[in-house]
Symmetry: C2
Subunit: 230 residues, 2 copies
């Protein structure tokens, strides 16, 4: 293993048996056809599961909806990119020349994807328990100071705050349909933001739930746009 | 453990240490405030991970996109409901009276959710390897006859076939925006179906990729509607 990647191993606190896996995990698709996209697929799913398990154990009183919101707050792109920056992962990325010139090693999406790929590589190299320990270590502080789920702002609140912070008009929610029998209705809602051409939809067993889902989707769209402009 | 639930254990090929977990896994929210929703959250994530791992190992040549499509075909609601029916899970469901009267034990969404909850319960009761063996056993046949990912129809094709099969007009795709620099563009596309008020969006690094995502979302909406009408 080269010296540079060994530094990353030290920061991860994990020593690879097969160094090629780590090299693959830091290789962006712009650099090579053998890149980190497959490892990212694996890493994303092992991360989602291990964080779900941690939350299930630590938050015995929370509903499934609250657990989902907590997990989303831990594994969303900004959180993953922050963890990647703490690991100085950007220094190790292998990027194509276009990405290099445009500062790809600082881009949130590239950092977040590479961190997931590293987790997938650790799982393949060392097995489930090794990967779990690493994720527990990476998330130790964040799991130790989880917000009460009630404090965790819901999608509509976060969307509203985001739009206010960016001086954009507030969102509008419109019920598209209500189907199903009285005791098991499905609401579908559309969320739009004036002055943009964006629209998202959500569904759920209540109007509120459907609105939350549509708001989350809108926020993801808006944050995705911002990520791309960085 | 009661006799009935023991039959389910036999079909699962897994014997619970803590029978309460299995009872919780088959309890729908309509029956009790202590229901299977938290277990479903856990089970969904362990299932997604284990199937991702199986596909990663079995399909070394496939791209991340192909792996995602293969996984979706294995863990989507209809597939889960089919597995649940093979296990005769519906017989064991604990439903509220409204759901009972309206045939909730046959409803796809309830069956699929309960199966995920059972997987979550096995994980908690027996650990990761026990859960992995069960999932491998349940999926053995389906994993053994995986379609070549190239054969697996993409979202646009499946959406088109679904709409033709239901005598509805074909979908329209419209590019909403293209952002980012030339080597790293993000396309956003809207999919609509005439004669419905449905619209979905997708994004991706190419127009085609964004259209596929929007088509998948539309298909999920349409199938969701159908599930509710059952």
């Amino acid at each position: 293993m080269n010296q540079e990647l060994h530094k990353l191993e030290v920061r991860l606190g994990y020593r690879f048996r097969n160094a090629d896996l780590l090299a693959e995990a830091v290789t962006h698709r712009s650099a090579n056809s053998r890149n980190n996209e497959r490892l990212e697929f694996l890493g994303d799913s092992v991360l989602n599961f291990i964080v779900a398990d941690e939350l299930y154990q630590r938050c015995p009183q929370e509903t499934e909806g609250a657990l989902s919101r907590l997990r989303a707050s831990l594994v969303n792109r900004p959180s993953l990119a922050e963890l990647a920056r703490e690991l100085q992962l950007g220094e190790h990325l292998r990027l194509g020349s276009g990405e290099l010139k445009s500062g790809g090693h600082r881009r949130e999406s590239i950092l977040a994807d590479a961190l997931e790929a590293v987790l997938g590589a650790v799982y393949l190299d060392g097995g489930f328990e090794a990967c779990r320990s690493l994720i527990q270590r990476l998330y130790q502080e964040r799991l130790g100071r989880l917000p009460a789920a009630s404090e965790l702002k819901d999608g509509k609140t976060r969307l509203q705050e985001y739009l206010q912070g960016h001086r954009r008009p507030l969102p509008t929610y419109e019920v598209l349909s209500v189907t199903g029998k009285a005791h098991d209705q499905l609401f579908r809602v559309r969320c739009t933001v004036d002055g943009t051409d964006l629209s998202t939809e959500g569904e759920g067993g209540s109007r509120r739930q459907a609105e939350q889902q549509a708001a989350e989707a809108m926020l993801a769209l808006l944050l995705g746009e911002r990520g791309r402009q960085q």
